[in-house]
């Protein structure tokens, strides 16, 4: 509305053509913009995991009942978690492989806790499209590398749960966990 009638504001332009009203306009719109962003933030953030979901974000697993050669299927963040007690033979098999030849090069040491090489803790989520591989349950197929086998698209994992064959790009994910005692771990 820059018309000559507004002599009152023109007097405040300071000579550079910027009127008092321009300043008020920009200030008001900016303030409203900041306000709008402040309102949008909680509206977006409400979609993040709620407190009760996060409260289940860590879980404790008792290892005492798992015999060598056995594995259990439990849940962590409502996704399957595999805990496997490797036999010396399975450890030897995993160590016999030259890690640098693998698709996702990692050694069994790197995938387990120091001094607890027999405990292999991984997510039970195939890194291809998120299916649950077989091999943790009693009598399930373990695939040609003796670890886990995903029935969806045929990915085979070895005894260190590393991808050896099939479309999956990565090894089964090892979640963050620590030993709380010799026979118990806290995942997450």
């Amino acid at each position: 509305m820059a018309t000559a009638e507004h002599t009152g504001t023109e007097g405040l332009s300071g000579g550079d053509g910027v009127r008092r009203r321009d300043f008020i306009n920009i200030a008001a719109v900016s303030f409203a913009g900041v306000g709008a962003v402040a309102v949008v933030l909680p509206l977006v953030n409400q979609m993040n995991p709620s407190a009760d979901v996060l409260a289940l974000a860590s879980s404790e697993v008792d290892l005492s009942a798992i015999q060598p050669g056995q594995a259990i299927k439990t849940t962590f963040r409502s996704q399957p978690l595999f805990v496997r007690h490797l036999t010396p033979k399975e450890i030897a098999e995993a160590d016999a492989v030259d890690a640098s030849t693998l698709r996702d090069p990692q050694t069994l040491e790197e995938r387990t806790v120091d001094g607890k090489k027999q405990w292999l803790v991984t997510m039970g989520v195939c890194t291809h499209l998120g299916c649950v591989p077989l091999g943790a349950g009693e009598g399930e197929v373990r695939g040609e590398y003796g670890g886990y086998f995903c029935p969806c698209h045929g990915s085979s994992y070895d005894t260190a749960a590393r991808i050896r064959k099939g479309p999956a790009p990565l090894n089964l994910e090892v979640p963050e966990y620590k030993f709380t005692s010799d026979t118990a771990i806290l995942v997450g």
């Binding site: 995991p49 709620s50 979901v53 299916c131």
Partner: protein, 430 residues
């Protein structure tokens, strides 16, 4: 809007006159889908599918609102309430089957509508905005259908939600936070189910709103027609009502007969038996497939099994899948041929047929297990899909010699009936 010879609304009943003076809603309806909208006289049955899509949306909204009265979006009971609809609610089975198969029929008519536009060049100037809004509707439909499929909380619902939200997880750095944000958890759960229900209820009304814009944009230049030639005068058009309301009415009858056949005799033909097993996060179905209308895109997603420079295969697949749809937004500027209708474009016509076959092959691969053979076929078919739009169409536009166009719609119609030289008035009403 539209043509100067369009009929004007003159309310006869005093009540309509009274309403029209205060709120010209009857006038708006008359000018949009009544005698006030002049339409090319030569539309064939491929022009039925816009109205049929609208009919399908109405079926979905009505059956959906009813189902929401009996359904509970909670992961503990959702599966049970769907079975409650099927077994206990009076006529519940009919309403749920109508909703599930209605989604499929909605996609069938929308795909025919899209391919009609592709063949007859309905995306070209001056109708680019109609095409773009149509694609927005299509994207909204896909989001709505995906979220609706999650609601019964069966095995396919759960694993479908996991795989599709997992697509966002392929994006570097921000992917996993986005996935967690979408789901409200680390895997699909109650939070995801609730928000999907909320949005599944909302989006159809957003679609209805965009449809209004789609029709508004269409009515500025008026409808395209099988010759692709512009309307030249009043002799080229007939009023929408009663001519095309009748023609669309006939199409609607055929549509409803086919719909009823599937609904009453093979209601689970297009569904997947695994979705009658309640969601189980610890056990994956052996063969995860989306609903059939996503198969071509699912095939493109799975076609990428190799890394390219620093981009991992999984991300490539996701980018290609989204690109396959977003590409269509650029179509009006990729195909520069001034001739609209494929009828007069001999080279385009052949490649159009190849594209249709290519999309069918992609669909077939998308529904099949991801074995090496199918993956190789989908790689070739996906490559052709992109080549068609990015290379072949621009080249055809440059080198093709189109057939001679008729001077007008009327001339084309009369030539077809061997009535050249006679006055349009002499054409029998068929």
């Amino acid at each position: 809007m539209s043509f100067p010879w369009a009929a004007h609304y003159t309310p006869k009943a005093p009540l309509m006159k009274w309403i029209d003076e205060r709120l010209p809603l009857p006038r708006l309806v008359y000018n949009s889908i009544g005698a006030g909208y002049p339409v090319p006289r030569n539309l064939n049955y491929m022009w039925n599918f816009g109205v049929l899509s609208g009919l399908a949306l109405v079926i979905q909204i009505v059956s959906g609102i009813i189902m929401a009265m009996h359904y509970a979006a909670n992961d503990l009971v959702a599966f049970g309430t769907v079975e409650h609809v099927m077994r206990d609610v009076n006529s519940g089975w009919l309403i749920r089957y109508a909703h599930a198969n209605g989604a499929s029929f909605f996609f069938i008519v929308v795909y025919l509508h899209i391919f009609r536009g592709l063949f007859y060049g309905s995306y070209k100037a001056p109708r680019e905005m109609v095409w773009l809004l149509g694609l927005v509707i299509y994207l909204l439909m896909m989001a709505t259908a995906f979220m609706g499929y999650v609601l019964p909380w069966g095995q396919m619902s759960y694993w479908g939600a996991k795989v599709i939200t997992g697509l966002f997880g392929a994006i570097p750095v921000v992917g996993e936070p986005i996935q967690t944000w979408l789901l409200g958890g680390f895997a699909p759960g109650n939070a995801a189910l609730n928000r999907f229900f909320s949005l599944h209820y909302l989006l159809p009304f957003v679609i209805a709103g965009v449809i209004i814009l789609h029709i508004w944009a269409l009515h500025i230049p008026g409808s395209n027609n099988p010759t692709g030639v512009d309307v030249k005068g009043p002799q080229d058009t007939v009023p929408f009502h009663p001519y095309y309301t009748a023609k669309d009415g006939f199409g609607a009858g055929v549509f409803l007969i086919l719909f009823s056949i599937l609904l009453f005799f093979a209601p689970n033909f297009l569904g997947h038996p695994d979705n009658y097993i309640e969601a189980n996060p610890l056990s994956t179905p052996a063969h995860i497939v989306p609903e059939w209308y996503f198969w071509p895109f699912y095939a493109i997603l799975r076609a990428f099994t190799f890394d390219f420079f620093f981009v991992p295969a999984k991300l490539l697949g996701v980018l290609a899948m989204f690109a396959a749809i977003l590409l269509l937004f650029f179509l009006p500027w990729l195909d520069n041929s001034p001739v609209r209708s494929g009828k007069f474009r001999p080279v385009f016509k052949q490649f159009f047929i190849v594209l249709c076959i290519d999309v069918l092959i992609l669909g077939w691969c998308g529904g099949a297990p991801a074995t090496a053979g199918y993956v190789m076929i989908s790689q070739i078919a996906a490559a052709y899909y992109f080549a068609h739009f990015l290379i072949i169409l621009p080249l055809i536009a440059m080198f093709e010699k189109p057939l001679p166009l008729p001077n007008s719609i009327t001339e084309a119609v009369l030539a077809k009936h061997n009535l050249q030289g006679e006055e349009p008035a002499a054409v029998p009403a068929e």
